[in-house]
Symmetry: D2
Subunit: 298 residues, 4 copies
């Protein structure tokens, strides 16, 4: 199969290599011309604009979009909707909100262009080899691109999830679970860290990765992290987030599902962004008002 890849960042670049390793050919483009030159050196065909990329593909064209979610994805897909023809296929492999994907899919559908929303997990190493992909879109047309997903993914690592939106939805929930699992692991080590015992955290993570109920890739990554910095003394506990955890919670609220564990994992991330809180100030002021408890002055 021959396809186009728009976006040659960490994820897209590795995916191109992965796709080529599996015997497909790729035309790659990126706003950064250097990345295009790099991918040419690595054996792909290059294009210095989306127009050029589209021209270098033959009908029915397959274009994989791997650019940052939000406005950039929006712009790329709008541009593609003008350049592509009926029967062509657009794949959005980024972390778009599933409602946006449904809307974009409908837009493309009006022109007879097929749209697939693909959640991609496994990090950059997964993109390079053995990805995990969750795909939403037309079930019949999917069969024509199924070999691609079978090839880039680890064994049993791709899933046709259902109609448009269902792929990104699944990735959203995956990330919500990920937030909760990470927080559970982290809280456990936080208690260990304050306990009366002096544990070797790397050794603890290692034993938990061998035979315990909580063995997991995240615990293996925990082991790796402690192997590099045994007490994590070099870093600060600022927990950023890139949106999918928040979307998961907003979705849970809309569906009236009580998901307190995933919710609290996000709320503590937000809490970590602040050195001090207004909530804390109000409570401290109130304790002073009724009980004369001293407040800490700046």
């Amino acid at each position: 199969m021959k396809l186009g890849m728009i976006g040659l960042g960490k994820m897209g670049y590795n995916l191109v290599l992965n796709i080529m390793d599996n015997g497909h050919s790729v035309v790659g483009t990126d706003v950064n011309a250097e990345q295009v030159n790099n991918i040419i050196r690595d054996g792909a065909e290059g294009a210095f604009s989306i127009e050029e990329l589209v021209e270098k593909l033959e009908s029915p064209r397959v274009v994989w979009v791997m650019v940052p979610a939000g406005e950039i994805t929006e712009n790329v897909i709008h541009k593609l909707s003008g350049l592509l023809s009926a029967g062509d296929i657009v794949i959005d492999g980024g972390n778009s909100h599933y409602k946006k994907s449904i809307a974009r899919g409908k837009l493309l559908d009006e022109k007879g262009i097929y749209f697939f929303d693909v959640g991609t997990s496994g990090g950059t190493s997964g993109a390079r080899k053995d990805a995990c992909t969750m795909i939403g879109g037309d079930p019949e047309v999917f069969k024509t691109i199924e070999p691609l997903f079978k090839d880039v993914s680890i064994q049993n690592g791709y899933l046709y999830a259902g109609p448009m939106g269902s792929g990104h939805y699944l990735k959203m929930i995956h990330n919500g679970i990920e937030y909760g699992m990470m927080a559970a692991i982290a809280e456990g080590f936080d208690i260990l860290e304050k306990s009366e015992f002096d544990y070797d955290f790397e050794a603890v993570a290692r034993v938990w990765n061998n035979g315990s109920v909580i063995r997991s890739w995240l615990m293996e990554l925990t082991e790796n992290a402690f192997s590099k910095d045994p007490k994590l003394e070099g870093i600060r506990g600022i927990m950023n987030s890139s949106g999918e955890g928040k979307w998961t919670i907003e979705e849970a609220l809309d569906l009236q599902v009580a998901a307190p564990v995933i919710t609290m994992s996000l709320l503590m991330r937000y809490r970590s962004l602040e050195d001090d809180t207004f909530t804390g100030k109000v409570v401290a002021a109130l304790r002073n008002e009724f009980g004369g408890h001293e407040v800490v002055r700046k």
Copy 2:
């Protein structure tokens, strides 16, 4: 009625004044002799030891203990158990754990001494005038000291709650509710503070105190606090706690009652005691491991 007061701190001292205002006489003692001299000047009889205080009372003696919960209360009550006689009455008006109160009550009961555990709310101003008291102990003997509670408390502000332990239990739960209410108010103002609008917080608290569903003494105190420092710029949001919120949650866990609101209010207090968390470090390290997300280095 004549009674002894052990402990002339913020709460005990104000209670003595309150009790005397209501026509009773008091013998007061404290480890701090200066407080004893002060209370003598204010019209009470003084005692410079618990022994002296006991001697200055007549059978059946009534002794109110108003000292810090924990070891000090334990020691005072053990000492009293040796000095008092059958038919005497001990009142613990502090914030003791109800299980300790039950144990102490049984100890005194073996010698025929009656024990009452009294939760006291309303802060120091309430102790001085119009307290709120919740009393556990023998229902018949309670009648002999009921006038005392009726006098020191605001109208309808005392309650015979049930057997030994039930008074301190009620105070514990009262404080648990207080934690939750304070946190709810504080979180609301935290959102206001970060909102796109520029509210006058004192004015907001005032309007909410007049006719709204959330009007409350805590909201009045919030109004007071903002009247002194409109944005609470002078203080830090460190939320200490003195134990009863924690006991409430431990009790809820023992009873298998899901009380997430009160629980989270305490957990956020603990969170406020730390500048950074190990939980946060682990999550930040994990995000770096799988996604290459940058960590903030120290």
Copy 3:
């Protein structure tokens, strides 16, 4: 002052009576003609359509909208935008989302019509007498209608909050705080209910309303509720919600404010709507898988 009231439900009807008690005259309309006839009997002028209501007012007209939030409010305000003239004033006293209010305000503004978003608290009894109102809109024009708010509200019970949207925003946060306070109170009584003591809940609420730190209107309502049904045996613990708690949490998420107490109060409301949960099934199935723990079969 003479004004129009659109919507004669529980809140609107009581507000009309309240406004008339304060010497103003009102033209009232409602989709339900019976309510119009009722309000005529109670001394107001009636109108059987919005068009008629607008005709019966003189420029600059003041129209208070008190209809259900959402589509109905949207339709009424769109209709008014076509009927009113520059210089007229529209007040939305319902529970609209502040972002909608800002959008509606801008729409009316294009025609020179002034818009005020008004959060109204205090329940139906407050609407009848001594309401609590929080008002957003143009500060200069507000002065022309300020007497109205001063009259219908309890003393100090109205607040000019800021520009358009700030009134409904404040009401939203008020309700979020309300959710948290109610949950804190309810959790406290839940622990009491499962405790080893046999408390009289009405008496407990009463003593807490007299002198304690947690005295509040909500605790007074708790006392009322227990006076009617001492153990609440006649009702089920299904906690519905009407949207403002959810909006508060969505706003907190957008602002990255950690507000776990208000959030958990809503999540437990959602949990109460389900007899059983899929979350629970998955956890039960997992416990069976790894530990052989028995599951409860249907």
Copy 4:
């Protein structure tokens, strides 16, 4: 090595088989004589009392206790303290509270008997083969029994964790993390279940087990569970718990560590034990009081 095993339940029996597979010999006893006869048939030496078991071992004796935590473990260890001699070794492989283990270790230490507290993870299948063990106790004496743990555990699946108590502490935290991870997974599927998409949950769990960030043994067990009952229609969502999650939270409270994710996972388990809540009744009653919102009557 020859050792005694007290307790031939699911865990103990499988451990004996595991130990014998590795070339050690075992004397087994149980309160249930049938299990003793079974283990004799399976190649172990049997004992019908703890006394008999102790007699059949030679100094320095090694006795592994694998009985239910709490009173039974307490009784067995007290009995052993009377039967064993200086230099003997007692291993508690059950889920005892680490504070109890420290106390029991000190008791045995007074008689010169060594105590090791061992957390065992991996479920019954792990006990049979490839267990995960975390061991607390004397570091020098540990070397004499290390081969045993190396043999029964999977590769890298045993850890000398530190002094007495540290093994059970680590197992406690392991279970706390397990609670949080399970809840995160379960909440994710709960949202999927209520979503607009019709997912095949077994297929979802499978794809997540192949290449995704959340791949884990718990997700594999989730896949197994859905393979047997695709929508879990046959079971109820009642989430029991056996104590270690609660201990984790109590420990976090004592250390003032905010661990909201693990905490909420337990609280939702408690919530699942109730069909209706008093919390819900109070909130419903309050909504009725101030807003006239209808309550659901029984």
